[in-house]
């Protein structure tokens, strides 16, 4: 029993960070119908930024969030206005976003590989090996901080969507783009802001990735597969769904790794995805028909 609970704690901590990674991806799909294959490469790029800020300037990864979030927000808005505005209204818009973001992902990956080579990196802050003890249970400090900060960012996003005017506009656009236009939401502006938030979350996520998950440029493909799985599981475009999916799969894969073996983790992850989609093809919180 103790062991199961211990593994569940690990799974929840992992799931909290997954939730942050996936929420940015699902936001981009929910508001702009962008299937952003470059989301994970943004996270990896932010992980590099965090890594070098730590190595060269001694800035703690968690402190780096303070500059990564605004920087990646601006990058996201810039990318949206430069590339995505051009394909707005195209009859094959969603498919175009897949190709466009695929191209962006390959380009950024190439730049990262050229500049920083393909070797594994990992930031080594002091708390990487620290742990808190709670009765019989171990809570690794680095993972705890990452999960808590992810939670704070997700709550901030929720409050923003719930209580601000722009937040109303974003939610309206997610639920019914045409009707949002008809109540006066400038959907292009709202889309640019949402994409900025999505990449800002990737920026924050990169700070955690830099010390939790060793990375190299090519690694992002593995991540995007996992993140797309989380988002599909939760229901494309559903924030609640992405968070629930991340926590469920985080715990499920931790349990499988513990009970059966490390090699089974990724497989269990996708098996759970298939299982759930067989029962609910639209995902946990998805709508029946996503156009």
């Amino acid at each position: 029993m103790t062991e199961i609970l211990q593994v569940t704690i690990f799974g929840l901590l992992l799931g909290g960070v997954y939730a942050l990674f996936a929420s940015g991806l699902t936001l981009a799909f929910g508001v702009m119908r962008i299937v952003n294959l470059a989301h994970a490469v943004f996270i990896v790029a932010a992980a590099y930024a965090t890594f070098f800020a730590f190595e060269e300037l001694g800035i703690d990864p968690l402190v780096s969030i303070i500059w990564l979030v605004p920087l990646f927000f601006i990058l996201g808005v810039g990318l949206y206005m430069t590339f995505f505005v051009r394909i707005e209204g195209s009859p094959r818009y969603v498919e175009m976003t897949v190709l466009l973001t695929f191209g962006i992902a390959i380009m950024i990956e190439g730049l990262l590989g050229w500049r920083f080579t393909g070797i594994y990196r990992q930031t080594q802050p002091s708390y990487l090996t620290d742990a808190y003890f709670w009765g019989d249970y171990i809570v690794p400090a680095g993972q705890l901080y990452a999960a808590l900060l992810s939670l704070i960012l997700l709550i901030a996003l929720w409050l923003f969507l719930r209580f601000t005017r722009v937040g109303y506009g974003i939610r309206a656009t997610m639920q019914n783009r045409d009707a949002a236009q008809l109540v006066g939401v400038n959907v292009r502006r709202v889309s640019a802001i949402s994409f900025g938030i999505s990449t800002a979350f990737a920026g924050a996520g990169g700070a955690f990735m830099s010390y939790l998950f060793p990375f190299f440029p090519f690694r992002h493909w593995q991540w995007i597969a996992l993140l797309l799985a989380l988002v599909v599981l939760g229901g494309m475009g559903s924030l609640k769904g992405a968070v629930a999916g991340a926590l469920i799969l985080g715990v499920a894969s931790s349990l499988v790794v513990d009970q059966i073996g490390a090699g089974w983790g990724p497989m269990a992850f996708y098996a759970a995805l298939f299982g759930i989609l067989l029962v609910r093809p639209q995902g946990l919180f998805g709508k029946e028909a996503v156009a």
Binding site: G169, A172, Q175, A180, Q181, L182, G184
Partner: protein, 245 residues
């Protein structure tokens, strides 16, 4: 001077042919209009062009002497023209109250928003009762009321309604029509497309018959109702079915 003028508008979808073929129409303040015509005549297309959802290929829409040159829907709305589309388009995962609040998205003064919401609740007591219910869980008629209420939140000068009775039971449709009458009494200029032509024309001051992308006839609604030619050509079916949807 007309409040709203449509001048020689051509419009269509994608690479398709023109649906509106040089259509012109003047809308006077304080008059209510019912646009009728066969399927494919361009009724909904006209409303989409005015609302800014579909940019015209040529011609212009002029409101209060100012032309909308490719104005976005939010800019059209800000100038005082709102559009309630066919599918009601409420926000399914927002409560009734949130749906109304977002109706006043362009209004930043919270006390004004509150006043308007009270006015909507006076007109639609059912919305006040269900203020915290999600829009998507309401019946078709209630969603239509919510869509109308949400449009009122912008305090529009012109309200365009695309088939407000579509898919509603006759009794509920009747309720929607009497609400539209109340909106007219508030001084809002109504421009309505209605499948149920007889009902629509009874309600409106002015009738407009659209066919093949142009205005075929227009005149006081009662004369259109009485005109035997129009009855035969465009109202035949509606009269035959006794005015039910």
């Amino acid at each position: 001077m007309a409040l709203l003028e449509i001048r020689n508008v051509n419009a269509g979808y994608g690479k398709g042919p023109d649906i509106l073929k040089g259509l012109s129409l003047e809308v006077e303040a304080g008059t209510s209009y019912c646009i009728i015509g066969p399927n494919g005549a361009g009724k909904s297309t006209l409303l989409k062009v005015i609302s800014g959802l579909l940019p015209p290929r040529s011609g212009e829409v002029v409101f209060r002497d100012v032309p909308f040159n490719g104005a976005r829907p939010d800019q059209v709305l800000a100038s005082g023209i709102c559009f309630v589309p066919q599918d009601q388009a409420v926000f399914p995962e927002m409560s009734v109250k949130e749906n109304l609040t977002i109706g006043a998205y362009l209004e930043k003064d919270r006390s004004v928003i509150k006043e308007r919401m009270e006015r909507v609740f006076d007109l639609f007591p059912i919305l006040a009762e269900r203020a915290s219910q999600d829009g998507g869980t309401m019946s078709g008629g209630q969603q239509q009321m919510l869509a109308l209420g949400r449009a009122l939140m912008i305090d529009p000068a012109v309200m365009m309604l695309d088939e407000p009775s579509l898919g509603l039971a006759p009794q509920i449709a009747q309720q929607i029509f009497s609400t539209i009458r109340e909106l007219e009494a508030l001084g809002i200029t109504i421009v309505m497309v209605e499948q149920n032509a007889v009902r629509g024309l009874e309600l409106a001051d002015w009738g407009v018959v659209l066919d093949l992308g142009i205005v075929r006839f227009e005149g006081p609604a009662d004369t259109i109702l009485d005109d035997p030619r129009i009855r035969e050509l465009y109202l035949g079916k509606a009269v035959g079915s006794g005015g039910t949807t």
